[in-house]
Each structure stands twice: as C-alpha cells, then as structure tokens.
C-alpha cells in the first residue's frame, strides 16, 4: 500500500515534470497558477491549520515577496531565482516583526492584526514611491521564462507540501497541533507555546514571499492592488477549509478543486464568485469543520496523517 502510494506520487510528479514538453502556452500558465495556489494554501495551512491561529492577511507576505523580488531584479539586476528567495526572506522578517508582539496573545489579537497588515503594506508600498514606483507600479525587464517559472512554482508547491508532511508526522508538528487543541494544556506539558507559534508563523510566511517573487517575474508588472488583494487571502482560506485544514493533502485537494472550478466557471462572475466563497466558509465552519478530507478520513477510516 505504502509503495503503491509512493509509486503513484512519483509517476504523478514525473508526468508533471514532462508536461511542459507537450503543453500549450495556456496549459503551462494554467498549471503554474495552480501550483501557486497549492503553495499559498498549504502555507496558510501551516499556521492556521496546524496551530489554529487564523491569519486574515497572508497575502501581505505574498505582496512583500513580490515587491522585494521585483526591486532586486529591476534596480539591482539580480536573477529572478535568488531575488525571489530574498523575497521569501523579506516576508519572514515582516512576519517576525508582526508575529512577535501579536502571537504572545491569544486568538483574535493575531487574527485582527493580520487583517490590518495587508492594508498597511499597501499604504507603505504606495508611499515609498522612490523604491516601489508607488501607485504607478513596477515593470520588470521583458523575459520569457514561463517554462522555468512553471518548475519554480511546482518546486515551491512541492516543498511546502513536503514541509507539511514532515511537520504533521513529527514531534514539532504535534506541538503545533497541541497548541491548536488546547494552548494552556500545551504550556502545562512544557511546550514553549510562544516560540512554537512564532516558528509556525515564520515557516508559513516564507513560501508566500518566494512565490510572490515568482509571480512578479511571471506577470512582468506589479502594482500595489495586484499583489495585495484581500481576495487572495480569502481564496487561500477557502481552499484550505474546503479541502481540510490541518491535513497534508487537504489544501492540495481544495486548491485543485476550487482553482479548476474558478477558471472554468466563476472567473466571469466576480462578485457571485466571492459570495460563493463566503458561503463555503460559513458552510464548512458550521457543518463540515474538517473539510472534505476530514469527512473522507472519518468515513473510510483513513489515517490522520494524510
């Protein structure tokens, strides 16, 4: 069974790796965005799914990474690869500044601090025009790199899913989940909750920053509205809740289902689409708190660690 699963995974990865050889331009871009959503959803899962601290502003890390990456590429002539990694580091630094005060307290403080963070980042980015181009945005030099970005995004999605796997099956992950279930009990058991919450948060900020850098390179042009939209945070949250928070494959399942659905049906009805997202959140919280994967786990007695 275990070998069958591993073999299936390996074949799946191989097919995805070979896909650009046969794909059309649209196909590559579709998959590249799908990978991006898997990476973003999975990152949100690391903090909110595992420790139970809801981040309402995760797109702030995406936007920070996008700007840091784009600035390094345009004004310092970096290659987009290392520039995007630096974007991830920038996102982690931001997470440290916000997380240190807010994670010392429980629940809502963190959630609302994150709700405001995105707005503040947008304001700051618009304000420091010399560095960021302000409201008129930032154009990156032309470069056709869709193929490379496809692999980069794929690697990011794979890395963060791998990280989720490592965490959920390890002691560190158990500590995260103990914080989610009962923070006081966790502390009583000798877990330094402040420190572990911060670890989870920093981990969850890195990949969105990196992916933001890839996104900036892929789009070739970024502006405050395009990399700090509230909708991106909403989408991450809906994907994770729908698929099953706190699991390894739930965010992947949610991202794939909702992204495909979104591309095929909803892109034409923006507001209806968002009403539908709001309704999914309400529905999942009230009736299916563990998401689709949670329902499957219960019905088919699947292991906790999937």
């Amino acid at each position: 069974m275990r070998w069958a699963v591993l073999a299936a995974l390996a074949i799946g990865l191989l097919l995805l790796a070979l896909y650009p050889l046969v794909a059309t331009g649209y196909g590559i871009r579709f998959m590249l965005q799908l990978f991006m959503w898997v990476a973003l959803a999975q990152s949100w899962n690391l903090i909110s799914g595992l420790t139970g601290y809801v981040s309402f502003g995760h797109v702030a890390f995406f936007g920070t990474g996008a700007y840091a990456g784009a600035i390094l590429v345009t004004t310092h002539g970096w290659h987009w690869g290392p520039a995007s990694l630096a974007g991830g580091v920038a996102a982690v630094i931001l997470a440290l500044i916000i997380g240190y005060p807010c994670l010392r307290l429980k629940g809502p403080y963190f959630a609302i601090a994150m709700l405001g963070l995105n707005e503040v980042m947008r304001v700051l980015v618009s304000y420091f025009e010399g560095l960021t181009g302000g409201g008129s945005g930032l154009s990156l030099p032309t470069l056709h790199a869709s193929g490379q970005i496809y692999y980069a995004m794929g690697a990011a999605a794979l890395a963060v899913t791998g990280a989720a796997h490592l965490l959920i099956t390890s002691r560190v992950g158990l500590r995260f989940m103990t914080i989610r279930e009962d923070e006081i009990a966790a502390e009583a058991m000798g877990i330094n909750t402040e420190r572990y919450k911060l670890y989870a948060f920093l981990l969850s900020a890195f990949v969105p920053g990196v992916v933001g850098g890839f996104f900036a390179r892929d789009q070739g042009y970024i502006e405050p509205i395009s990399v700090f939209p509230l909708l991106t945070t909403i989408t991450m949250i809906v994907m994770v809740l729908f698929g099953g928070k706190g699991t390894i494959w739930g965010p992947v399942l949610g991202a794939v289902t909702l992204f495909v659905f979104q591309e095929l049906v909803w892109a034409r009805f923006l507001y209806l689409h968002q009403i539908f997202f709001g309704a999914i959140i309400v529905f999942v919280v009230l009736l299916m708190p563990r998401g689709i994967l949670g329902v499957l786990q219960e019905r088919y007695r699947l292991p906790r660690t999937i």
Binding site: G52, I97, Y100, G107, P108, L115, G116, E119, I234, I237
Partner: protein, 292 residues
C-alpha cells in the same frame, strides 16, 4: 518637514480628533459588547456599519428626506438583522474554539460585502447634505462631523444608561462578567447573546449612517472600521466597556495628530503601529481588561 506647527493647528487637530473619536467609541462599543458577552470577535462588524451607511444613502437618494432621520429606520432594522445573524449562524459557534467564530464571521462578512457589490455596485457614493463648516474663532468645524459627534455622544450615552440602569442592561453586564454565574442567577444567556448582537449591529449601523453623510461610501468600506474598532477595544482593555470610550477618543486624537506630522497616506498606517505598540507594551489595555 519644514512646516511650523502653530498652537491653532494643534487646537484644530484636537477638535477634529475628539469629533472622530466619539464615532469610533460608539462603533467600538458594539464590538466590545459582543466580545464581552460571547468572547466572539465579530469580523463582520464593519460590514454591518457599511449596511447602515447604504441604508442612509438610499433613504436620502430615494426619499430625499433629511439623512439623519434614516437613523430611525436603520437602527431598528439593523437590530433585527443582527439578531437574525446571531440566531441563525453565530449562536452555533459561541462555545466552539475561537477559530470557528472568527472564520464564520469572516465568511459572513465576505458574503455580505459582495452581495452589496452586486446590488449597489462598487461605485463610490456620497450623500450631498450638510456640507461646509462652522467657523469658531480660528477653528473650522465641519458641520456633518459636528452633528455626527453630537449624535454619537447621545447614542453612546443612551447605551451606557441602558447598560447601567435597566434590568436587561444589568443582565448583559452580568453575562459578560461570567456566563456561568449569570446562568445560575436565572438569566437566559442565549437571549442576552441575541440582544447584545442586535444592539451591537445597531451601534455599528448608526456609525455607518453618520459616516455616509461625512465621506463617500462603497461596499468595502467596512473592513477598516472592523480593524479600528478592534484597536479601540485593545486600547481600552478587551471586555471593558468604559475602556472603549477612552480608546475611541484616543484613536481619534492620535490619528489626527499623526496627520499633522505625516502625509494623510501614512497616517492611515499609524493606527496599525499603535496596535502593535500597545500589544507589546500593555497587552491588557490602558484601563486593564480581562486578560485574553
């Protein structure tokens, strides 16, 4: 900056700050009430404010009557909308981990904002009423802001009188001190939750009605108010109702002072810096609240 700051400017800023602060206090009192009795942070609080603003806008656009009279309709209407939300949705997650209530009210907020986008469109709208300012000595006081201040103070005073003097108000305070003990004393806690959510929605919508006359409105206006209301209750101490008043005034003053030294754009970020600082230095709020 090269700009000299005169005493007149400071006076002007203090006046504007207090005028804005009264409104913040009133709106934040609603959020504090819900948090006090249920330990739920209502992410949809600003969304309810937005609905109040649109009630006033349409009242004025369609009927052409004094927009302040719309308060008489908007308040009872939003009181019932709030009770309905509590009854059908929020009541189910009151005892669940706070993750559930945060996500639930977030979902409600997204759905309502986009229903508003769909029905009212995302156009920026304004109520053209009571424009201009009074000149008092060297100070200019915007008429609509002055009325907003007076109405907000009046409504907040009524709310406090209600909390202090009436039986229901005492029951609400008792519930926020301890749900279990309140229950033992024969208070129907679920009904208290219902009323608290209704009152909170009415307070938010009153804020919306007043804001609609002051500035242009659009469906996404609410999020900022959710954030600021939360900041106010953090400043005052979560679950501490008089603290919400102090916190609101303080936020108004700080924002206006910041606009004196910084550009308007940057002063939007000041509220945020304030939140992070308070959380770092005095997490239980200025008046001290129930610790998290």
């Amino acid at each position: 900056m090269g700009v000299t700051i005169t005493p007149t400017m400071v006076g002007q800023v203090v006046i504007s700050g207090l005028l804005a602060g009264a409104l913040y206090s009133m709106v934040a009192l609603g959020l504090a009430l819900i948090y006090g009795v249920m330990r739920v942070i209502n992410i949809a609080h600003g969304t309810l404010l937005m609905l109040g603003a649109y009630t006033t806008f349409w009242w004025f656009r369609l009927l052409g009557i004094n927009p302040y009279l719309s308060l008489l309709v908007a308040l009872p209407l939003m009181f019932f909308v709030g009770m309905l939300l509590q009854r059908t949705l929020v009541a189910r997650v009151v005892d669940a981990p706070e993750l559930s209530s945060l996500l639930l009210t977030f979902g409600i907020s997204i759905a309502l904002v986009n229903v508003a986008q769909l029905t009212f469109t995302s156009d920026v709208r304004s109520v053209e009423f009571l424009t201009g300012a009074f000149l008092v000595g060297p100070f200019a006081v915007s008429k609509s802001r002055l009325v907003a201040f007076a109405v907000a103070v009046a409504i907040t005073a009524i709310a406090f009188w209600f909390l202090q003097k009436t039986k229901l108000g005492k029951a609400i305070r008792a519930t926020s001190q301890s749900s279990e003990v309140a229950m033992v004393c024969g208070i129907n806690v679920h009904r208290i939750h219902l009323y608290a959510f209704g009152i909170a929605s009415a307070l938010a919508s009153a804020g919306g009605s007043l804001v609609a006359v002051m500035v242009a409105i659009q469906p996404e206006m609410g999020q900022v108010y959710t954030f600021k209301s939360f900041l106010v209750i953090v400043l005052g101490g979560a679950g501490n109702y008089p603290g919400a008043l102090l916190g609101g005034m303080l936020l108004g003053l700080v924002e206006q002072l910041a606009s004196l030294f910084l550009t308007t754009q940057l002063s939007e970020a000041v509220a945020y810096v304030l939140l992070v600082l308070v959380l770092l230095l005095r997490p239980t709020g200025l008046l001290g609240g129930r610790a998290t």
